[in-house]
């Protein structure tokens, strides 16, 4: 009888265990599908495209990839037009990120002071970065139009048509793209700087004021070092985005005139799609860009760690 009464709860417990999964099984059930999706959608394409970068292959040619070693890499690196694309990307990244950093930080310093309507103005300044880059490209194209665009009207109010056609000249076209990117992404840098500025404890400034530190000294020794980590993160994000820049240029200049605003991403797009479908070389170029981004990111991260004293 005792044995029977002991057996009953054990069976019930087992049945309950069957009905309810263990924590481990539940964890595995959540992790495995994600893992499978991750492998299928991220890891496999990553390694497959690496393999393709060493082959002669066109995705539409109905022919198997043919192993050619480093030929795609040497072909890309020995072609002047690709170096031109890299140079264009570098100039663009340097100008746009540089200007965004200076303007974004300056704006944050201004908006740090609380005044009537400062919250509303801060929200307004964020609008450009909420827009789609393609849409921004399209309407700035209208703004730059020498016949009816407002930009040339500001340059030459008496006869806007006589002002420079911003998108038709190789130098001004790059400047035009940089202006739009700065307009669009300065608020992002400002936002990060503003959060950094707001996090600086007041007692640091109070102590500095007691020591009769000048405003410049306070800025150099308190504000800048305190904001630097967040500013650097903003610069890192913007640099990576600038190196990948594609949609804004495509909407605004299509990479022209000639190749004057053709960034490496546009060159990559044209190689991979747009009638060429040179999948092997496009994969190789994508890996070159990836390596460059990793190298630049590492420099930033090392400097960031240095700032944090790690």
């Amino acid at each position: 009888m005792t044995a029977l009464t002991q057996a009953a709860p054990t069976q019930a417990k087992q049945r309950a265990q069957r009905r309810h999964m263990s924590d481990g099984a539940l964890v595995r059930l959540f992790i495995f599908p994600t893992l499978i999706i991750l492998i299928l959608w991220n890891v496999f394409p990553l390694f497959y495209s690496l393999y393709l970068s060493f082959t002669r292959y066109s995705v539409i040619a109905n022919r198997a990839p043919e192993w050619i070693g480093f030929s795609n890499y040497t072909a890309i690196l020995s072609r002047p037009t690709f170096w031109q694309s890299f140079a264009t990307t570098g100039v663009y990244a340097l100008l746009s990120v540089g200007l965004q950093t200076v303007l974004g930080f300056s704006l944050a310093m201004l908006l740090r002071q609380k005044f009537k309507g400062s919250g509303f103005i801060t929200t307004l300044t964020l609008i450009p970065m909420m827009l789609s880059p393609v849409v921004v490209g399209m309407f700035w194209k209208l703004i730059y139009n020498p016949s009816y665009g407002i930009f040339n009207f500001l340059l030459n109010p008496t006869n806007p048509r006589l002002a420079t056609d911003m998108l038709a000249n190789p130098v001004s076209a790059m400047l035009a793209v940089v202006i739009v990117d700065v307009w669009m992404w300065t608020p992002f840098v400002m936002l990060l700087c503003l959060s950094g500025l707001n996090a600086i404890p007041d007692y640091l400034y109070e102590a500095a004021a007691i020591d009769r530190a000048s405003a410049w000294f306070q800025f150099r020794r308190i504000t800048l070092p305190q904001v630097a980590p967040l500013l650097l993160i903003a610069v890192l994000f913007r640099t990576i985005e600038a190196i990948k820049a594609f949609d804004l240029m495509m909407g605004l200049t299509g990479g022209g005139p000639g190749k004057s605003t053709e960034t490496v991403s546009i060159a990559l797009y044209r190689l991979a799609f747009s009638g060429q479908f040179n999948t092997g070389q496009a994969s190789a170029l994508a890996y070159i860009v990836l390596i460059i981004i990793i190298c630049i990111s590492n420099v930033y991260i090392r400097y960031l760690n240095k700032l944090r004293g790690e």
Partner: protein, 443 residues
């Protein structure tokens, strides 16, 4: 428990696999899908195919993809050996890829057995249907014939004061230009920036093929060509005539093009015309219906049309646009047969006449020569004349790698003003040479 979760995963995998692997049993074809670019002729075709549905019960859907992504969407389907569409009305330049890479079904036997190849003009059959050139192998039925032409403001050209001023300045009557030099003179005459009027709007867009197409009109007429029959480019692509042609094209852009047209294609040139900025515009005939419509063009009543002018030696060419209809090689045999049947119906003279009446640009000889066709639209006479001297960019499978190089070099010189015309053409040769060497066309 681990076994249990594995079992659950196996069930999920089975369900997913059944979705992807499972295929419905083959049934009689009740619907055909044609993919084409998103533009007015595709709407006309969608209207026309209702007759086919009435006759056969087979519904035909014209899938319209915006021009910017049309090529990529078709290529993605080719890459996947997909059957999302039964037929494609593809660009003439795709023929090489479609034929040699196995994306198109060969139509030679079908077209010759039914005499279809004799119903269309030889030039359209050559450029829209045949690959390799001169081989007699056909891969597409010429569907939408198109080429570059000109629209002009008749009110300006017929204004007595303008006529008098032009004669005083150039010593000849103001009229439709017969040579490229005359066109340049007329464009300069009408360029008056202080009044917001410019002589000519031309293609300058760097994407895909716009500036190449625009330049080809002058280039071929000046005796230039991309290469000779042996794929030699030196002295052909950069010949004296070719250099002069490119210089003229740039002059046309710098002297007489409305501001802001540094990246212009069909929409931009039409806009320049309808806004009253341009006295003449270059465009594909397929985009002229918007100019003939008073709802979209306030100058519609006084808009005239003319064919491409001649070069200095009397040569006359117009860059070819337009497309042919091909059958997707990745559909099943039933759908292929249904597609053959559809093309056979579409190629009939009476259907082609209706196609033309709806606004489509037929390549059918009978219809093109009929008065009924000429009466359909004010620009049809110029179109019919143009279709006798059309010429296309290369359609070898390597065109995709060659086209952006030419686009970029031409855009750099014409719009960017970088280097000389000779340097721009030399750059094209330098960059095309390894491509043609790799493909085995030249040593």
């Amino acid at each position: 428990m681990f076994k249990k979760s594995l079992f659950l995963l196996a069930i999920i995998a089975l369900v997913v696999a059944s979705v992807f692997v499972g295929s419905p049993a083959r049934a009689a074809v009740t619907e055909l899908k044609i993919i084409w670019a998103q533009w007015a002729p595709a709407d006309f075709l969608q209207t026309l195919v209702q007759d086919y549905e009435t006759k056969t019960g087979i519904k035909v859907t014209v899938i319209q993809e915006p021009w910017g992504t049309f090529g990529d969407r078709v290529a993605a389907e080719w890459a996947a050996n997909g059957d999302a569409f039964d037929m494609v009305i593809g660009d003439s330049q795709w023929l090489g890829q479609g034929a040699t890479q196995g994306h198109y079904v060969e139509l030679t036997e079908f077209m010759t057995a039914r005499g279809i190849e004799k119903t269309v003009t030889p030039a359209t059959l050559q450029y829209y249907g045949e690959y390799p050139p001169g081989s007699g192998k056909y891969w597409a039925y010429p569907t939408e014939g198109d080429a570059n032409g000109w629209a002009y403001r008749m009110d300006l050209f017929n204004d007595p004061a303008e006529k008098e001023a032009f004669k005083a300045q150039y010593g000849r009557d103001l009229g439709i230009p017969e040579t490229w030099d005359e066109l340049l003179e007329v464009a300069k005459f009408f360029t008056r920036p202080d009044k917001g009027l410019y002589g000519a709007a031309i293609y300058t867009q760097i994407d895909y093929d716009a500036i190449v197409m625009g330049f080809q009109n002058v280039f071929f007429s000046y005796g230039g060509d991309w290469y000779d029959e042996n794929f030699n480019m030196e002295g052909v692509l950069n010949s004296e005539g070719a250099v002069k042609a490119l210089e003229l094209y740039r002059e046309l852009y710098t002297c007489c093009s409305p501001p802001g047209l540094s990246n212009a294609f069909f929409q931009e040139t039409n806009d320049a015309f309808t806004s009253g900025q341009a006295a003449m515009i270059m465009n594909y005939f397929a985009f002229f219906p918007a100019l003939a419509n008073s709802a979209t063009n306030r100058f519609a009543e006084s808009t005239g049309y003319f064919s491409m002018p001649k070069g200095p030696d009397g040569l006359r060419f117009a860059a070819l646009g337009g497309q042919g209809i091909s059958i997707n090689a990745y559909i099943n045999d039933e759908r292929k047969q249904a597609s053959f049947d559809f093309i056979e119906w579409f190629a009939q003279d009476d259907v082609q006449l209706k196609w033309a009446q709806l606004g489509g640009y037929t390549c059918n000889i009978e219809v093109l020569n009929s008065q009924a066709f000429l009466d359909v639209a004010p620009f049809n006479a110029a179109f019919a004349e143009t279709m006798t001297f059309v010429k296309d960019f290369t359609n070898i499978p390597e065109y995709g790698a060659m086209l952006p190089i030419a686009q970029s070099a031409l855009h750099s010189y014409v719009v960017g003003g970088q280097g000389t015309a000779k340097e721009a053409l030399d750059n094209i040769i330098a960059e095309w040479t390894p491509i043609l060497q790799d493909a085995g066309y030249i040593q």
